[in-house]
């Protein structure tokens, strides 16, 4: 895998966690959503923090699309799992949330799980004629 593809995965991680943190900052300003008026949540789109979050998440989506064009879904998701740690760090230090030791342990276990899965094959090559996959040298034939 060349450095451009690693940069794409890094972008998925960074944009995803930053976008989530920005959305949370905006929703803190907006206040709780009333279950009896669920469409009220659309008004949150006028909040600048929410708009900034949407902008960053758009960048996340573009990099995510690119990654999915050359790798399996079950490879891309765990490969970008450090974003979980990122959003917890942002929650702790940017949003000043209380993150208990049990939550840190949970994040650690999640990271171990996704670290474990990324050691396996990255791509399943389908024999289906209508499925075209271009993965270059990192394609693996999976039994």
């Amino acid at each position: 895998m060349n450095y451009k593809k690693y940069l794409v995965l890094l972008a998925v991680m960074c944009f995803g966690s930053t976008g989530d943190a920005l959305l949370k900052r905006g929703m803190n300003d907006f206040g709780p959503v009333d279950l009896h008026h669920p469409l009220h949540v659309v008004a949150a789109l006028g909040n600048p923090w929410v708009l900034a979050g949407i902008t960053v998440l758009t960048a996340f989506f573009a990099s995510y699309l690119t990654a999915l064009s050359w790798a399996d879904l079950s490879y891309v998701l765990p490969a970008t799992a450090l974003g979980y740690v990122g959003v917890t760090l942002l929650g702790r230090y940017f949003l000043h949330e209380n993150v208990s030791p049990m939550r840190w342990l949970g994040v650690l276990l999640i990271s171990c799980g996704v670290g474990w899965v990324t050691r396996g094959p990255a791509l399943t090559v389908s024999p289906s004629p209508d499925t075209r996959v271009h993965g270059g040298e990192e394609q693996h034939e999976v039994a």
Binding site: V33, V41, V87, L109
Partner: protein, 125 residues
Amino acid sequence: MRSLDLWGAIALIVLGSSSGDVLLSAAMKRIGDLDQLRLGSGLPGVIGRVFSEKRFLLALCCFSLGFFSLLTALSWGDASLVAPASASMTFVASAVMAKIFLKEDVDHRRWVAAVLVCVGVALLR
């Protein structure tokens, strides 16, 4: 806000996101490597090809459900709970759906990872 409401919103995030992920992955596999497509057709060609794929448009609908559920959940709970919980459960749900619908090889390594992730999510509560 009751914990049940929060976890209901998180379940909707997981449903919308994992369905969207699977549809998006199927769409991108049909389209092929975007870098190669861009070299041949340019950026407008890439955008046109992506937006003409029905699975991509369906994926956007699913992501919209997940997004508004995310906004709702974030207004009720901590980002450090909502984001990792929904994202990690989406990982597990997407792995199951990838095996069923995309015929990806989800071997024992990926199931062990799924268990670790589930325990991690339980600790996030």
